[in-house]
Point group: C2
Chain length 144, copies 2
């Protein structure tokens, strides 16, 4: 994620006539450059340090707003809860079955996923999501 996420999103909120509150800024700062794909609760827990009174509902609301602005994407990798990624460029996710970490995988999607012509004829693909499940380097060396 390039530097300036927080500032850019603040500008976009203003553009949209939405308000820039201290809570939102705190959430944005936490997301800025964050590649850990936190859940709502993860974000709430962390932001609580700087902002002890922030409510879970505010975190939910803010993430919904950010998702609508496409400044964050939700990834449904974990059946129990949503995770969020401030990097909205198209990329894959690799989920470790052991530690449940989520790593970004940047690869040329167009070449990585070729939709067969037969499928393209009966389904207009707007978006392609790829999840790789397996074992990350940390866990495989720890196990070995």
């Amino acid at each position: 994620m390039r530097k300036g996420y927080t500032q850019r999103v603040i500008a976009r909120l203003r553009e949209q006539g939405l308000k820039v509150t201290p809570q939102r800024i705190a959430i944005l700062k936490h997301l800025d450059g964050n590649t850990s794909h936190p859940s709502v609760e993860d974000i709430h827990r962390k932001v609580c340090r700087a902002f002890p009174t922030i409510s879970l509902a505010t975190v939910y609301n803010t993430l919904d707003t950010l998702e609508q602005l496409r400044e964050v994407q939700s990834i449904s990798v974990d059946p129990h809860r949503k995770h969020y990624d401030p990097d909205t460029r198209p990329h894959h996710h690799a989920i470790c079955s052991h530690c449940h970490s989520i790593q970004d995988v940047f690869a040329d999607l167009a070449s990585a996923v070729r939709v067969p012509t037969a499928v393209a004829e009966i389904f207009r693909v707007d978006e392609t999501t790829v999840h790789l499940r397996g074992v990350c380097l940390n866990c495989s060396t720890a196990t070995a």
Copy 2:
């Protein structure tokens, strides 16, 4: 799905020392050849016709058991609820944004998704899941 799903799974239940109950048979029959990717509630509703007293918990339990036996796979396509697929061969899923239907897409996974060498070195991929989101033929013609 080839013919014989119900019979095969019944045999596997017996093999594992698990019991073949009328409820389980009813669920298996409903899943046999089913390509609609039903949710737990969908299954419960349908099976209730033949079996009015079956409880939701039983459907949940049975699906958990079947998933452990790998005779059904859960697909997390819908953030609100799990969907189940009795076809456990590797394949993709195409989700229609309009009608929310889920279609199976059989295509050569190996060629469709090439994992970059750089990724393969830091992550051992066991399973690849591809979701195509877009608009199905029905909905695109209906809209046009």
